[in-house]
């Protein structure tokens, strides 16, 4: 494994924790589920498209808001004091806070490779998302031009079959006709 890994972002889901690292030649996505980490790589030389967008709030906002409303109603019904009411008010506050956090704007940088993709989510950090997007595009451009140059160097030179034969005139160079 590459020792020079820089943590760039994360994209946690309901069932998985995903962390994205930057290495010298790829983005590494560590997906932790249970007690196992599954690693995927999106190589810079294979990236076809990089996008940046603002994610729309998901269903979690509405679920948490509904939970907050139900808990508030139940608390009001059960009385203004007493331990059950305090617990219900606590659930109301926590759910409302969760809904507020879930509705906060999230900027997502996605790198679409040939075989897989990597996603980085930045909650309330638009500037950081734009910085990562720019850096990623720069790295991808550099890596792909370096690979193209290396392949052009390694491209086997196909010798001219007429090179060693004397007496045969060299093919004329194409003349450029003036327009």
């Amino acid at each position: 494994m590459n020792a020079e890994r820089i943590r760039w972002g994360q994209a946690h889901g309901a069932a998985h924790r995903r962390r994205v690292y930057r290495t010298a030649d790829a983005l590494e996505v560590d997906e932790a589920g249970g007690f196992e980490i599954v690693r995927r790589r999106v190589f810079f030389t294979e990236i076809r498209l990089v996008t940046l967008h603002r994610a729309r709030p998901g269903a979690a906002v509405w679920v948490l808001a509904a939970l907050a409303g139900i808990a508030l109603l139940a608390g009001l019904v059960s009385g203004r004091s007493g331990i059950p009411a305090y617990v219900l008010y606590g659930v109301t506050g926590l759910s409302a806070f969760g809904a507020m956090v879930s509705s906060a704007p999230v900027w997502v940088v996605t790198a679409h490779g040939r075989r897989t993709r990597a996603e980085l989510r930045f909650r309330l950090r638009q500037a950081r998302a734009e910085q990562v997007y720019g850096e990623l595009c720069h790295l991808v451009g550099e890596a792909q031009s370096a690979l193209a140059a290396r392949l052009a160097e390694e491209e086997p030179r196909r010798p001219d079959p007429l090179a060693g034969i004397t007496g045969i005139p060299a093919p004329p160079s194409p003349a450029i006709e003036p327009a």
Binding site: R19, L49, L52, P156
Partner: protein, 213 residues
Amino acid sequence: MIPPETPETAEPPRPLPPRPRFRRAYPGPACPYCGAPLAPEEMAAGPALCLACAGSFEATPFQPPPSYVPPLALAEAGPAGATPCAAHAGNAALGNCPRCGIFLCALCRTEVDGQGLCPACFDRLAAERGLPSLRNSLADLQSLALLAGIVGLFFFFLGVVTGPLTLVLSGFAVRQKRRGEGSGGWGGILLACGLGVAQIGIGLFTIARGFRT
């Protein structure tokens, strides 16, 4: 005596293959909002609009070069490059395998971890786990250490057993992280270490109190 009839073609039942995990296939570049397929070849860098959902986003398309050089036929290579590949007699060799030394053409060479290996050496090293970049599944030692630390708190009377176990797992997690293989920050490891020390303290206190009473 007639021997019992046994079918000659009877084979032992084969074990069922492991059930594959459900994974959605990667469809290629897609709209970040609706998942409609996008064609990066037809896109320009800058603001983009999905025709399916009218979602707007910023996009930068790339055209990755092909990842290999097409092999050169031996007849085309000329007298200077007339070494044939060990596996493909019609192809000119590009070089040698750094492990076994056989001649390789562009078809045979596999670039991995900075070396161009032949298929046999690649298979052998992959089977021996000698190629670090091929490892894509690791134990999450940090989470294991945290789990041992939290579960051990519930069995505090066994703290002298679960505490060192937590510390040992934390040590493994530190080693994994230093090798660049672990995932997550140092906070979880430090928390697990703290829990391990606390368990040992609580365990020793419980034992001392038991002896006193």
